[in-house]
Symmetry: D2
Subunit: 281 residues, 4 copies
């Protein structure tokens, strides 16, 4: 049976759950899973998975949506999650571990997304990508201004029209101009437990500060470096014997798993953004 | 404003969320938080926190309950969580760590429950309990059959009529006869990551098996030793240097925190039981 | 049998382990546990637990120390850990959880230290402390300059001559002048995963940043706020439903356990400090 | 500079550390890292990394070994770790995640071992293996007795003479006869937190028991199913919403990381075995 996901957010008000459930009830549609959240500042978020019951052949998601648009207040946003898999382009520099993880998952249909292409400012990872038959675009940044480099990337992206960009250890900062093309649609993995160790060489910073736990953070990219909404984090214990280089090696396992887990949430339409925080339903 | 918690469980069917939300909507009551779950075998569970909106002074929980009873199918159970704190009696033997944790929390009003009394088969912890001005009942098991001992305990409990019994490292097995008096109302902390190391001396067993992680499990007690529904678990890394005794020492920190976290869930009516598993909403 | 702990640190050089083990071997002393570490910048650290073998009645630690002083280079520091328990004074403000943890452990002889007294700038925790028969010194900071307040504290400390000060949620910043009296002998628990959220209201900061994991850090106090060498850290997962206040409540469990674990390391002479980092042997 | 690893184990006795350090000191060799452990039942284990100091060109490991053999008691085992990478053969059935992890690491020279070949009782993973240019041996078990099947495998292994076999989700039980050929040289990943859920379908068992944490265990294989010495374990939180199938999906991330971490320890000669427990130095 076809499953639909209804996504709703807006100012909280009386009867929002009731309105949705009454429309679904009237159409004989079954709620498989429903999650809602009201933020302390009074914003309502809801994610409803529903499907046809026994008596109805196909739930007409669009019909439900149209009907709800007449009932709920106009400032409440309603979306139906597109059923098709998300299309993504993956950005890398030289490190293979996050890309390798995504390729293996994609190769066995576990990614909940289609990798349309890989973009890199180095050729290091081209052999790995070619093993999986995915287009690899080498777009060097040398001898280019930042804007020229990003323009070249944007031209390449225009071929693919991806839903999301995944920065799988892409070691260049994107300009606000570039980011504005993919607002809340760029996911980055940062190799620290943000907001600790923003910026470059976080494992070096972690070593020098003498922390006992390192971590990784998957987040949306916005215009402030490493300041976008956090989607997932995880950590790993270290001790004084670990050099910055050891931490970097150990951190890779955390980075790739955190990135994968964050992408799973994003690609399944489970992530809302509100005031630079994620709400995960 | 007075808050109510509505608890509902029964066979899944069309419109259950809708029915509840429509009744609340009609009475002008606000849903603060709503969580539901449908098990793979088709049972529906819902926990709804609601309170009066601006236009209504007091939500009449009983009225809502009565109205819902006429709407939902008869095999759906509906309960209103009693607003008052739960009353508990704590059982201990000789170890102080879980009891100490509960007493400190209780002393600073963080337990979400009233400790009416402590029962023990030893006098070891009497001085600790007396610091907090709580009745301590020493009920020795020596020279008594198991039934005589439990009868003595039951007589003591009859004074207090507790809602829950908390076995905070009570090192005796309770008979089915005793357990039947407090069905799903006895919470135990077991000093292992169940179902590993059921029974006596779990840290000794863990040491001998050479595990790299130890744990603790808070669970409801039923008639099969260490087989009741699990409420919460947590773990702690160990290595070959740790003796069984070291593990026991380290494990205490896990035990007391897991027990506290499980009790918080239970005392806030967030735990449903279905087929020997807990559903935590 | 009496156990000794030999602590050694200095520039790395040939034969340091050999020298120690040869002296112990000649005296018929058994090494129970030996841990060493050489930092990347070439500093050697060693902690050696030893005791008499079967043929010798008492290991004369001082004799071993004197003999080693003639063998190892003069810039190598050698210390014998004093066998007696460390004496401590605990500082608190209004929060009870860390203090309660320390008192319960102390009351059951699990702290590896003697709590000589508790100092506070409020009277809130006096009733708790008095349950355990420990002197409580209320030293108000109102109507005093920071220096006057610290002078009053120093006068009180002069009675006790503690080995360590434990800041168990003491919510005032100490001046460099005060800290200099207890260099590397003040342990603080900070309610964040340092270096994230230095300073005041870390849970509020964590909430606003939208982190998915919170933490706590036990560290030595030096002249830079929250910048001293980190001894232990631990973390706790949170999600969007948790308010800053929820995080604060959940964080308490982490704080008290991390503080206890750090103190155990410090009181057992397992912590060396080098370049603002701890080496834990 | 060439690094050597000396491995030593035997009954504890006076001067063992001293003997090793004195021989190394006399030869002008530097100890880079030294770890030792004495088990409660009196067995001594030591792992010493050493290299030439400034005055000596190459440490002659064999010379050190020969000299030590004359000094230490005859029941003490001394080994020099072979410097070359370990050679391994990987066994799989149908699941790709552990194999994919090993291949990616191997492809980027991060495995500390050479994958000589992959053996499988299915062809499912042949395409993945062929991407990395490694021989894939499909050895079907159908229409063969267990002994015939294992004989066919042993014939294949005889070509490669691997140091270790890695069972990367190989879903068949090996006979004692087979295991005896690779005593303490077969590493398996079991998809549960052993000793919980021994045997088949551990995630199904975990779901039915209603655990709140699942895990994975890397262990040496001996003749008792899932009873060999544990090398590494890790865990992952789950809740009532997770089906056995969800747990299986989530568990894969834990499995592959735990297996990789265990192999790193084994391939770096950091794992000793004593009484069915691992000692990791």
């Amino acid at each position: 049976m076809t499953k639909h996901i209804l996504l709703m957010d807006g100012p909280d008000g009386p009867g929002l759950i009731y309105h949705v459930t009454s429309v679904l009830f009237r159409h004989g549609l079954n709620i498989i899973r429903n999650d809602e959240y009201v933020s302390p500042d009074g914003r309502f978020f809801m994610r409803t998975e529903f499907e046809a019951g026994n008596t109805v052949d196909t739930p007409d998601g669009q019909l439900v949506l149209d009907e709800l648009r007449h009932i709920v207040p106009p400032d409440v946003t309603l979306r139906l999650s597109p059923k098709a898999k998300k299309n993504i382009v993956v950005f890398v520099t030289k490190e293979h571990h996050c890309l390798g993880e995504l390729l293996i998952r994609y190769g066995f249909d576990e990614l909940d997304a289609n990798i349309l292409a890989v973009v890199s400012n180095y050729t290091t990872l081209q052999p790995l990508v070619s093993k999986f038959g995915i287009p690899f675009h080498y777009i060097a940044h040398e001898n280019k201004t930042r804007e020229e480099h990003e323009d070249a990337i944007l031209r390449t992206l225009s071929i693919y029209q991806p839903d999301y960009l995944v920065l799988a250890k892409y070691m260049r900062v994107l300009t606000p101009g570039f980011v504005s093309h993919y607002n809340n649609r760029i996911v980055n993995i940062h190799h620290s437990f943000l907001p600790a160790f923003v910026g470059a060489s976080p494992y070096r910073q972690a070593y020098e500060r003498g922390v006992k736990i390192i971590g990784a953070t998957a987040h949306f990219v916005n215009n402030d470096l490493d300041e976008g909404p956090i989607i997932a984090q995880n950590v790993q214990e270290v001790d004084h014997r670990h050099t910055a280089s050891d931490m970097s090696t150990m951190g890779r396992d955390v980075e790739k798993i955190v990135l994968s887990q964050a992408l799973k949430l994003v690609f399944n339409d489970r992530v809302f953004i509100h005031q630079n925080r994620t709400i995960i339903l």
